[in-house]
């Protein structure tokens, strides 16, 4: 080792662990599970990654509703594959979260008891087939905008999970847009169905990108840890700018009378978001909060005997194997 390197190492040791940690993140180094990390980093990551996992799992429910009612086999296999992906994404994320020293059981407990949140968009009902199109196009579109920057986040297991999620997610959005396109090129009634879905999902999709920057409490810290690379308002603007031209191609009207292209800023100006509605849904008073949790908790409880039986079987097989080994 050179003299300069030696000096460097010495100076590093004298700095506090936390400073070294922050410096590693500034240098774009990844943090791995067994590395030292501040308690707040661990807690914040458990909160965000588990919320993300819960959202994938609860997100299956509104779409599961339509699997048996899909209008063709082609649509059915696509929707089935999308919902299966979401289960997979939930599992990648739960595993990443568990590397921070929290158990899967604790995580499920937090979801089932209402202690942990999930994306509030899944508390809206899916009342027509067009909702499958709107969810893929808008909800997955907003999710992708949120998720792509996370592929570079500082916590290694989370970043790796996000890379896999993002790779798989783009089919979700495309299949949604294709559903919208078919409806828009169909009969007048079908086109109205697509418009109605856009009317209902547009604002909740904008809310999905989180509270405005001036009230978002976690933004500053999350930016520092690269848990966030862009602010909520920046992400929302990006979503609107890329989605409005897509609505134009469909021939649909975005339900915002104040929406208009601003030549000066190079962005769309848009109307006031009803944050009161957002907070009501977050607090549990959305149209489907209760239904979603009942479905989720019910499925978990009804599956208990299956999980227990699998475990009992595994133990029995293990004992059998050991006895056979002894007999030889």
């Amino acid at each position: 080792m050179s003299e300069a390197q030696l000096k460097n190492t010495g100076a590093e040791r004298s700095r506090s662990l936390e400073e070294i940690f922050e410096q590693r993140i500034v240098n774009d180094e990844k943090i791995e599970p067994k590395d030292w990390m501040p308690e707040k980093y661990r807690k914040t990551h458990i909160r965000q990654i588990s919320q993300h996992a819960h959202s994938e799992i609860v997100g299956m429910l509104p779409e599961g509703n339509w699997i048996t009612r899909a209008p063709s086999l082609r649509r059915k296999v696509a929707l089935l594959a999308k919902v299966q992906d979401e289960a997979g994404h939930g599992l990648y994320l739960y595993s990443a979260c568990e590397t921070l020293g929290v158990s899967r059981d604790e995580l499920y407990d937090q979801l089932h008891s209402g202690k942990a949140k999930y994306s509030s968009i899944f508390n809206y009902p899916t009342i027509t087939w067009a909702d499958m199109g709107a969810i893929g196009w808008l909800v997955d579109g907003a999710a992708i905008i949120n998720q792509v920057p996370l592929c570079n986040t500082s916590y290694g297991p989370y970043a790796r999970a996000m890379i896999r999620v993002c790779k798989e997610e783009s089919f979700h959005q495309r299949q949604g847009f294709e559903i919208m396109m078919s409806l828009c090129n169909g009969t007048e009634v079908q086109k109205q169905m697509a418009q109605d879905a856009l009317n209902r999902w547009w604002w909740p999709s904008l809310m999905m990108l989180g509270p405005t920057d001036d009230v978002s409490v976690h933004t500053a810290q999350s930016m520092k840890w690269k848990l966030k690379r862009k602010t909520n308002d920046e992400l929302r603007q990006q979503f609107i700018d890329q989605t409005v031209p897509q609505a134009d191609i469909l021939g649909l009207t975005v339900p915002d009378p104040d929406l208009k292209w601003n030549e000066e800023t190079g962005h769309y100006d848009f109307g006031e978001i009803d944050w009161e509605e957002f907070w009501q849904v977050v607090k549990g008073h959305g149209p489907c909060n209760k239904e979603r949790m009942n479905d989720r908790v019910g499925a978990w409880e009804r599956g208990t005997w299956v999980r227990d039986a699998a475990m009992a079987h595994a133990e029995k097989q293990q004992i059998k194997k050991e006895n056979q080994a002894k007999a030889v």
Partner: protein, 94 residues
């Protein structure tokens, strides 16, 4: 009182000629179920031709806090690298 399914680490060979690489983890009651679940969770888009599953508790990992003792001894042994040896420019194929 239910017993939780243990955690398994999943390694996947993406194609012959490449090594198995750590893909992630999952919970399963036994090795057979871990293999089946790994197929569904990690190879939905033909990402693999072979899967290994290892129960996580069977993995012994080095501790990053001991990285100094563990890995620094290699740092001052630059003579293990070819660039340590100076040769005249006109020497080729070496």
């Amino acid at each position: 009182m239910e017993k939780n399914w243990p955690l398994w680490e999943i390694f996947v060979r993406s194609k012959n000629g490449l090594e198995h690489r750590h893909f992630g983890s999952l919970h399963a009651a036994d090795a057979e179920m871990a293999l089946e679940n790994a197929r569904d969770v990690y190879t939905r888009r033909s990402e693999g031709v072979s899967i290994w599953v290892v129960e996580s508790k069977n993995i012994t990992a080095s501790n990053p806090e001991n990285n100094g003792e563990m890995f620094e001894p290699a740092q001052d042994k630059i003579y293990r690298h070819p660039t340590f040896y100076t040769l005249p420019d006109e020497i080729k194929h070496m």
